[in-house]
């Protein structure tokens, strides 16, 4: 179980210090938790704070009761936190197989690495020995990024807009990917998304806006109001929430 207590995060800007997250309190004990809300509202920052990439200005983060607030990215990863970046990182010389092996944390065979790639809709044989570099498209990199989290199979998997850059066929399969991940490994899946189909499979939806949690609940409790509000007041969000 993940618990955020009074988490705040501020960043220095040209106009002084800006509060990106303000006193966020959240408990994640469900299978699927979807975080949604307008752009710039603090969703990605929240995920990065949980993964240890950013250090909160105030507050506490507990994972299964252990205070991990001051633990490094590595220590959190070793305690079972995974993170799929919105913008995957490229590496010269590191192959897809290398990256998935590192994610698995043990030597794995080609067939096991191929399973993870197949799950995200990549024809494994075409990719296994390719470098994770600019020769791969944004969508291919995104799917490989998701495959690394599948290979980790940790108790908390964070996905920052996994649907971004994914084509429609893969998107339809993305839902199955999350379901399979839970079926195989259990734990919690924490997804930042604007997609209604992803919000629809969530056990809990958390709306983050202006650095605060503005609403929390089941899809039946949150979606009607969210979509109604989006349609009425925020055409940009309305366009994004299909």
């Amino acid at each position: 179980m993940l618990e955020l207590r009074n988490i705040s995060f501020s960043a220095d800007t040209e106009n002084g210090t800006k509060g990106i997250l303000k006193n966020v309190n959240l408990t994640v004990d469900e299978r699927f938790v979807a975080i949604t809300g307008p752009n710039g509202g603090g969703k990605s920052t929240l995920a990065k704070v949980i993964a240890g990439i950013l250090t909160p200005t105030e507050g506490q983060i507990l994972l299964d009761g252990e205070d991990i607030t001051n633990l490094s990215i590595t220590e959190r990863a070793r305690r079972g936190v995974s993170f799929a970046f919105q913008q995957p990182v490229r590496f010269k010389g590191i192959t897809v197989k290398d990256l998935i092996t590192l994610a698995a944390g043990k030597k794995i065979g080609v067939s096991e690495a191929c399973e993870y790639l197949s799950e995200v809709g990549l024809c494994a044989r075409d990719y296994i020995n390719r470098e994770v570099n600019a020769s791969l498209s944004g969508g291919e990199l995104k799917r490989i990024e998701i495959a690394t989290v599948l290979a980790r199979g940790t108790k908390l998997s964070l996905f920052d807009e996994p649907e971004a850059g994914i084509d429609l066929w893969s998107f339809n399969n993305l839902i199955k990917v999350f379901e399979n991940l839970y079926a195989k490994k259990g734990g919690s899946i924490f997804i930042i998304s604007h997609q209604e189909r992803i919000l629809n499979i969530a056990d809990k939806i958390v709306v983050v806006a202006n650095g605060e949690i503005s609403r929390t609940g089941t899809k039946d409790e949150v979606l009607p109001a969210l979509l109604g509000k989006a349609n009425a007041a925020c055409p940009t969000l309305s366009d994004k929430v299909i």
């Binding site: 990439i53 490094s72 990182v89 010269k92 290398d98 590192l102 944390g105």
Partner: protein, 306 residues
């Protein structure tokens, strides 16, 4: 007789755990320490200077030659001339390399002058690794010079690696390619401490249809210094590509000076060079997989130089 230190050097530079199969010539501390020839590959000691002639018969297929050099005497300095005569249509692998174990205070230095005469339609894979170790204060210096003459339709792939223990190196490579010949060079260098590594390539694409691809990847750590120079001269209807990619760390310095010269309107030449530190996001990504910062850095470097 080869001792344990020398055996270790052989493992490092040529991956040799036993006497190699096929033709070989092992040079240890300036002397011949072992040699074998085959029906198709002859090795002859030069009479006018230090070195050997390696003569590979035309149409020799799937054979290899190992010619490692090992030095474990501090203060030994040598210049060795090795000439490779590769017959028409041959297809061979040549594994060279130099290892120095310096436990003394004096400089140990090896300058290998290798000249390749590659016959028509021959195919050569040349692997050269340089390595140094020892707990002495004497420097390990290696200055390889490679001259390559390629006849019509021949192909050469040259892989050079220097990862550890070489205080100073100046690597000069020149090549002249006839019509349809193709040269691929893959260079990997890592420098530490105050080491110096200088690489100079000059490739003349003289024949129509000739081509070359020079790829250098390097990592400069501590206060080491690297210089990469390449000049591809397109003198005919040809294609050439040179690429230098370097990771810079600590207080190291790297200079990359790629040059292309088109002396024919039909020449198609490209150069690329990139120098930069390891991207922070790469380290962070690997840390999210459970590696610590040092492990992440090592993984990125080993992948980069793989």
């Amino acid at each position: 007789m080869i001792d344990e230190i020398q055996k270790n050097l052989l493992r490092e530079i040529a991956d040799l755990h036993a006497v190699p199969e096929g033709a070989y010539n092992i040079r240890a501390n300036g002397e011949k320490a072992g040699r074998a020839t085959t029906e198709n590959i002859d090795i002859v000691t030069k009479e006018d200077k230090q070195g050997i002639d390696i003569i590979i018969k035309p149409f020799t297929k799937n054979e290899s030659v190992h010619i490692p050099v090992i030095i474990s005497e501090s203060g030994l300095k040598e210049v060795v001339y090795n000439d490779f005569h590769i017959g028409e249509g041959a297809n061979v692998v040549i594994i060279a390399g130099c290892g120095i174990h310096n436990c003394g205070t004096q400089t140990a230095e090896h300058s290998g002058i290798h000249t390749f005469y590659i016959g028509k339609n021959a195919n050569v894979r040349y692997v050269e690794k340089h390595y140094g170790d020892g707990d002495g204060t004497g420097e390990n210096i290696m200055n390889p010079t490679t001259e390559i003459y390629m006849e019509e339709g021949s192909r050469m792939e040259m892989e050079t690696t220097q990862i550890k223990g070489v205080s100073s190196t100046v690597r000069n490579t020149t090549a002249k390619l006839a019509a349809g010949a193709n040269l691929v060079v893959k260079e990997k260098i890592m420098t530490h401490g105050t080491q110096l590594a200088e690489t100079n390539f000059v490739v003349d694409l003289d024949g129509d249809g000739s081509g070359t691809n020079l790829i250098s990847r390097s990592v400069a750590k501590d206060r080491s210094h690297q210089i990469f120079r390449s000049n591809i001269r397109g003198n005919a209807k040809c294609h050439g590509h040179t690429e230098c990619d370097a990771i810079i760390m600590d207080e190291a310095t790297v200079a990359a000076i790629p040059e292309i010269t088109a002396n024919s309107i039909e020449a198609s030449l490209i150069h690329e060079a990139a120098i930069g530190k390891i991207a922070g996001e790469q380290i962070i990504k690997l840390m999210t997989l459970g590696l610590d910062e040092k492990e992440a850095e090592e993984q990125i470097i080993s992948g980069f130089l793989k």
